[in-house]
Amino acid sequence: MLPGVQVGQPVAHRLAYLWRAPAWGRPLLVERSSWDRCRRGLSIEGNDVVEFFEATLNWPSWLAWTAVALIQCFLLINLVAGGALFFIWLERKVAGRIQDRLGPTRVGGKFGWLQTLADGIKLLAKEDIVPKEADPFLFRMAPYVSFTASFCGWLALPFADNWVGQRLNVAVFFIVAIVGLEVFGVILAGYASGSKWSLFGAMREAAQVVSYEVPLGLCIVVPVMIAGSMDLVTIGNKQAGYFTNWFIFHDPAAFVVFWVYFTCAVASVNRAPFDLAEAESELVAGFHTEYSGLRWSFFFMAEYGSMLLVSALAAILFFGGWHGPFPIISQGLVPALAAMTGASVDSPVLVYLANLAGCANLIFKAVIGVTVMMWVRWTLPRLRIDQVLTTCLKYCVPLAALCFLAEVWFQLYPHTNPMPLNRLQWGAPRASIEVREGWLPLSPVSPDDVQEAQLTHSQEHRG
């Protein structure tokens, strides 16, 4: 809250507030609510670990920062690569079951769970071919560009309250921008391969991603508007409590926009029915026609990494993130355990356990999203390039824009919202909903909270 904005202002004032220039800069400020502060006891957010290294171990600042960066990269890269291993196996199992067959059954004993690893070893052993016509440097670089872009998105994605590589107050913006960068690798691959099929794939990808970024961005604005923040941790925490607090149930606009988001997300990560860049029945294999071995597998890892990323993003933006369908952190697990052990609700161990459960919760939701993408892939035929662009420009963009406007309306006139579930705020801790970063108070806030928020902000400013 900016100083000077009072609770219960008339609508005209709120509107005027929307237009005040400094308001747009506000999300760039770091928010620290009381709820956040109480969680900092055992946060693995970068800054806190740095603090630990610097203060407790007396490491120099540069070493502390580098160590933290390396640790986080190591964890995340293992998540992305391990995730790819798992999802490729899952995809083969899901595809198998959908197609009335078994999928891999042998490698690794049961269920073929080591199949992907075996394939990975095979890919490692394959010859690394660079075609004569290719631009060798760009050709070799392209898979890394793709994978790096897909991987970088993970840096700003929280897995639980404050469990995040680098907590950014513009995390949503960052992730959307970074995911869009993956297309560079694809275009580079298509251009550098020196093959016409690859070029076709790359051009299709470029056209598709550029057009789908627009509705994707519009869709993401809706939950951002509800939360009043671009910080994913804040967005996640705003949905604490029962599933009725999830943003997808906030109002009709948010409900509709989730489906648009999902469609656009599938398109932006190049999955069927939008997998035109690698349409195997038309373009042989599209942009990765000329790739083999490990380089090819990097594209694959990037694809699965992106899939999981957009699904996790959807889970945070619309499905409560690490907050389950039932309150775990505020009312469920933590208070129960606290009562049992006699520990404080803020005790680091309990918070850690709660966050672990939240992390599992988020990943579970993301895996469901990825599974749905697989289900779609093995069911639907592929669209044609003009139909893909039509879907985007004629359906997704107007729908997303309409939802955006509707969301503005519901923000201005909350009482017109026909879905009251979210307003009830069942099971939500007070602090997480009442302190708002930005412009419009959603529900009446108590003067105490306003004061506290202002205090927090002024402290941050001075610091």
Partner: protein, 401 residues
């Protein structure tokens, strides 16, 4: 003289995009074997398609001039290798026509059962592969699952699953084994409900309709002019099916069978009321209609097999005696076309009186169906090329012979 900016050529040069020659095939996932299409493209738009064939040419006709008719039967298997039984039938009927051989009643019904099952198996591949061309993998495996059951039946009847050499001049190499008819009926009972799955996955799927309806429209006159036949011809609304309109030697095989030619007449298919309606976007002669005709023919063939089982179990006598390996052929020549799954498959035999034919000729249905592809693909998008080629349902073994 220096070129000035106002010069129209400058603008043209700046705006112009280069045409690109793209080689689709012979190693390409959706050219159904070794078809090579040279596409002249402007971006995604295809301005010209030039098919090149012959990568699977095995000189079958030349080989036929050095073998007796019965020895040549395995070579017919390898023409349309997805419908080997129907190829066997075409050649056997042609040789029988030359020999003026009259087939026993039981052999006739046996042939109807076997060939209509072959048609179902062939259309299943055509349907599944078409899904593959459009980027959906699952229907392909659903189709193959059912096809396997037909191949099991064939295997039991003749010992082979792909190249049967079962039907031969004079009848067939063996009678159907005991209990085969019951198994066949069981298969038909299981298969009937599966067709609805195919319709749900493909025929009525919104994306499928978008990809096929109104694409590759083949007018009836052009279809006839290019010698297209089979589902391609009937998909254009031409009411012509050799099983009804062919030579007596062939149509007499279907004497007593009740069936209706699958073609849209007065805006209706014969089974319109039972099967998914024609979508608004579909134009007669487009890819969707060709696909739909195949789907309905599967149902029709099931019906014919049921009738065939009925007739076969009632008829007395034997299943015919295959001609001798070195049977002397009368001097003369004979040409006969049969309705194979992919269209009219014709065989021509010229004999000089010895046991080895002087000349053998195979008129391939896919050969003519493919020749129309450059007309259909003019001005379409790259993604439509597999859709159109797939809807013609070609088999390169039959085209190149």
């Amino acid at each position: 003289m220096a070129t000035r900016l106002e010069d129209p050529r400058v603008v043209e040069f700046d705006v112009r995009t280069d045409e690109m020659l793209v080689n689709m095939g012979p190693q390409h996932p959706s050219t159904h074997g070794v078809l090579r299409l040279v596409l002249r493209t402007d971006g995604e738009v295809v301005s010209e398609v030039q098919p090149h064939i012959g990568y699977l040419h095995r000189c079958a006709e030349k080989i036929g001039e050095n073998l007796t008719p019965r020895q040549w039967i395995p070579y017919t298997d390898r023409m349309d290798y997805l419908a080997g039984m129907n190829m066997n039938l075409g050649w056997s009927l042609t040789v029988e026509k030359l020999l003026r051989y009259e087939l026993p009643e039981k052999a006739r019904h046996l042939r109807v059962i076997i060939c209509e099952l072959g048609r179902i198996a062939s259309h299943l591949v055509g349907m599944g592969a078409y899904g593959l061309d459009l980027g959906t993998f699952s229907p392909f495996l659903y189709a193959f699952r059912e096809r396997e059951k037909i191949l099991d039946l064939f295997e039991e009847a003749c010992g082979a699953r792909l190249t049967y050499s079962y039907i031969c001049p004079g009848g067939a190499t063996a009678d159907l084994p005991k209990g085969w008819l019951q198994k066949c009926e069981k298969f038909l009972d299981e298969f009937a409900p599966v067709i609805d799955e195919y319709h749900a996955l493909l025929t009525t799927n919104a994306i499928f309709i978008k990809r096929t309806a109104g694409i590759g429209i083949l007018p009836a006159e052009m279809a006839i002019d290019y010698g297209c036949s089979g589902p391609v011809l009937r998909g254009s609304g031409v009411d012509f099916d050799l099983r009804r309109d062919g030579e007596p030697r062939y149509t007499s095989m279907y004497d007593g069978y009740a069936f209706e030619v699958v073609v849209q007449k007065d805006g209706h298919y014969p089974r319109d009321h039972k099967y998914p309606p024609v979508p608004k976007e579909a134009v007669l002669g487009d890819c969707w209609h060709r696909f739909y005709v195949r789907m309905l023919e599967v149902v029709q063939s099931m019906d014919l097999v049921r009738q065939g089982i009925e007739f076969y179990s009632r008829s007395k006598g034997d299943w015919g005696t295959p001609i001798k390996l070195n049977q002397k052929l009368p001097k003369g020549e004979a040409y006969l076309e049969t309705e194979a799954p992919r269209g009219q498959m014709g065989f021509y035999i010229v004999s000089d009186g010895s046991s080895i034919p002087w000349r053998v000729r195979a008129r391939s249905s896919s050969f003519c169906n493919l020749s129309v592809v450059s007309e259909l693909c003019r001005g379409c998008l790259i993604a439509d090329v597999p859709a159109i080629v797939g809807s013609l349902d070609i088999v390169m073994g039959e085209i190149d012979r």
